[in-house]
């Protein structure tokens, strides 16, 4: 009897570990269908125009009467990556147009079963636009949008066919291409690595762009590609990175959300035990320069940026000024400043090459391939 109870205690402890380990952080992110005939109507409204949609309530004329909400995917709003950038974008939007705290809110999904209740809850609160952050919410957004044709929705990283949904997608392959150029210009071993999160269209875009960017500089450079099949497990990231560095790769790019934390850890450990080797990590989605600090400097070569927040800001402003772009797909690329790379710690030579490649893409002289495996 007591033996069993002791065992159950022990097991309770074990389960607590597992529970803790299972708290999924879903950063990075992946998507579903993407079409090429997207209408590039991205508008970057920097102007601080207040709402003049006629529905001012009498009491306070200056009050902004436009409210937006977002539903996170399984990663929390503080995931340091995908969801967080969306939330920061909403905060910025509110600051820019002078909206109060009541004008924007987030609903956190701890599980995919929470998506629909969260959408319904936001719907009941009467927000003007409700954004689903990440391709995982596509089905849920479609369901709720069909049931509530009068309500406006947005979906990030996926395309919805509904008339009351605006789809915000990103040409991540363009930024990844530039990261590939930077990696190829920087590597001394002739070998670089790519660590993906969960295989799917979005991460395929990152991989394809990166490989094309490397090949653009030097076809003979080898790219190790591995997928973590997770966006949250830093341990796997560290393991894969260890393998890549041991194999002679000296620049590793991760498009895997929180898995990337393990990549940074591994690089730091290696540099601290042997500071003569030079290795680099390329960050993703937001500027990850901070993560690359170590005693001997900084090993974040650059980071690819993804403007989830600014896309939300832009679409909200567009709705205020011109009406809701329902049914449209707005694709953000280099041209719309929706994706980019940071200068980071690139050498002048590498940065020049990146600038040159950026110009080629912007001028339309260089078409970056988008998919390798997900579009058969």
């Amino acid at each position: 009897m007591t033996m069993i109870k002791l065992r159950s205690l022990l097991a309770l402890g074990t389960s607590a570990f597992v529970l803790a380990a299972c708290q999924g952080q879903d950063a990075g992110d992946t998507t579903d269908t993407i079409e090429d005939d997207t209408e590039d109507t991205a508008t970057d409204n920097g102007e601080d125009t207040a709402a003049d949609n006629g529905e001012d309530n009498g009491d306070e004329t200056e009050e902004i009467d436009f409210r937006i909400a977002m539903i996170t995917d399984e990663g929390g709003v503080d995931d340091r990556s995908f969801n967080q950038s969306a939330w920061e974008g909403m905060n910025e939007w509110a600051d820019n147009i002078g909206a109060s705290e009541d004008n924007y809110a987030y609903y956190q999904s701890n599980d995919s079963a929470d998506f629909i209740p969260n959408l319904n809850q936001a719907n009941a609160e009467g927000y003007d636009i409700i954004y689903g952050i990440g391709f995982m919410l596509l089905d849920a957004v479609n369901d709720v949008a069909e049931q509530n044709p009068e309500q406006n929705f947005g979906i990030v990283d996926a395309i919805s066919e509904n008339d009351n949904v605006v789809s915000l997608t990103f040409r991540d392959h363009e930024a990844a291409f530039l990261a590939g150029v930077a990696a190829a210009e920087t590597t001394e071993t002739g070998r670089v690595g790519f660590i993906g999160g969960i295989a799917g269209e979005v991460i395929d875009r990152f991989q394809t762009g990166f490989e094309a960017g490397v090949a653009h500089v030097d076809e003979s450079i080898e790219v190790d590609v591995q997928y973590a099949e997770s966006f949250s497990d830093a341990g796997i990231g560290q393991q894969i990175a260890a393998g890549m560095f041991a194999n002679g790769a000296d620049v590793v790019y991760h498009a895997a959300g929180a898995v990337g934390n393990g990549v940074f850890t591994e690089a730091r450990n290696r540099l601290e035990s042997d500071s003569d080797t030079q290795i680099w990590v390329i960050g993703v989605d937001r500027d990850q320069e901070e993560e690359g600090n170590w005693d001997g400097g900084n090993f974040t070569l650059t980071s690819t940026l993804k403007g989830v927040g600014s896309s939300i800001e832009a679409s909200a402003n567009q709705t205020i000024e011109e009406g809701f772009p329902g049914g449209e797909t707005i694709a953000y690329g280099l041209e719309e400043e929706g994706v980019d790379v940071t200068r980071g710690n690139m050498s002048d030579e590498a940065w020049d090459a990146v600038e040159e490649a950026r110009q080629l893409i912007l001028d339309g002289d260089l078409e970056v391939p988008e998919f390798t495996y997900s579009q058969e």
């Binding site: 009897m1 069993i4 074990t14 299972c22 579903d32 269908t33 809110a105 995919s112």
Partner: protein, 357 residues
């Protein structure tokens, strides 16, 4: 007899005290961080109980937790820690969807039964592996089921990508595989509460009958209490180990099938193991392995889960507070094990010294 009745009282007191202490702990923590706990609990409870939709969603969540809780409990009664519930949920889910997508034209009653059966079979095989390894090779079931969780996760993701669908999601199952009951849906203002809820109630009753009224159930309990005495009494330890794990997995698989068909209607690549699996463990611990207790703890967890969504926007409290309350409740249940362990020890010591006179 006396100890038994005091045990029974304890059995009721432990979870109720744990719940109260959990809520108090949560309230204290909110006060420390400058939130208003009364407002928070009010937002949570009124949010769920004044809206048929959210109450329906809470019961839907409770449905799945009942299955995972019962699944965990039966293995636990037999002395095993089946931490693989989450993986068994997942294989049950994917198999049910697979069957539902493969035979979309079968009549509804046949297709629903067949899909649920697929979930049951898949879950029981998955847990049976751990049971068989334990029975014949003495392998630690905790380690095996943890590893099988990840195997389930990656196999499922592979199947979704390459066999069942393209990309990261499958088609939705047809009307004939749906667990939706129109009257229930309209009663709860469009929530996803479904037939599974009634199946859960039936299973709770069956579980109780099995454990208390059948020889097989008695053997499972006996093996859990003392495997050596049981085998001395002529019960096959191996048989009972495997049986309890198989039933455990079957329940989890059924829960997964109902979760898949009822809540989602499809399956999509998972970035982690389903939370309902691990929460089922918590539910079983809070319910102290009693099927009725598990049923009510699932409802509590369902309410907390769905109510958590109201915290940030109605009370300005981060919704993680609900997870903290849940964690605190489980902690107090666990701490009670500790307290009881010491109480038991003191009592047996006393008895031993008295007996030695």
């Amino acid at each position: 007899m006396l100890t038994q009745s005091s045990n029974r009282l304890n059995n009721l007191l432990v979870p109720i005290l744990s719940i109260i202490l959990g809520f108090i702990f949560g309230a204290l923590l909110m006060l420390v961080f400058g939130y208003n706990p009364i407002l928070a609990y009010q937002a949570m409870l009124t949010g769920v109980f004044t809206s048929p939709y959210f109450f329906g969603e809470a019961l839907r969540q409770a449905t799945v937790l009942t299955f995972t809780g019962l699944g965990f409990a039966i293995a636990f009664k037999a002395g095993f820690f089946n931490i693989g519930i989450a993986g068994q949920v997942l294989v049950g889910w994917v198999s049910a969807i697979w069957v539902a997508l493969a035979f979309p034209d079968l009549p509804r009653i046949v297709l629903v039964s067949l899909s649920l059966l697929a979930g049951v079979v898949a879950g029981s095989i998955w847990a049976g592996i751990a049971g068989a390894l334990r029975a014949y090779f003495g392998t630690n079931e905790v380690i095996v089921t943890i590893m099988l969780n990840y195997t389930a996760l990656h196999v499922t993701n592979y199947l979704i990508r390459n066999v069942l669908g393209t990309g990261n999601t499958t088609e939705r199952v047809g009307e004939n595989a749906s667990l939706r009951l129109d009257w229930l849906t309209s009663l709860t203002a469009g929530s996803r509460l479904n037939l599974g809820f009634f199946i859960a109630i039936i299973v709770v009753v069956l579980y109780w009958i099995f454990m208390t009224q059948t020889t097989a159930g008695f053997e499972v309990r006996a093996v859990g209490l003392n495997p050596y005495a049981s085998s001395y009494a002529g019960m096959s330890a191996a048989k009972n180990i495997i049986l309890s794990m198989v039933i455990s997995g079957a329940l989890a698989g059924l829960g997964g099938a109902i979760h898949g068909l009822g809540t989602f209607g499809n399956i999509f690549t998972q970035s982690g193991l389903p939370h309902v699996g691990f929460n089922g463990i918590a539910v079983a611990l809070l319910g102290l392995g009693n099927p009725i207790g598990i049923f009510f703890s699932s409802i509590l967890f369902g309410v907390l889960d769905v109510g958590a969504g109201f915290l940030p926007n109605r009370a300005g409290v981060p919704d993680e507070m609900a997870s903290i309350v849940i964690a605190a409740i489980i902690f107090f249940v666990g701490a009670n094990y500790l307290i009881r362990f010491f109480l038991d020890k003191v009592q047996t010591n006393k008895q031993a010294t008295e007996g030695g006179e």
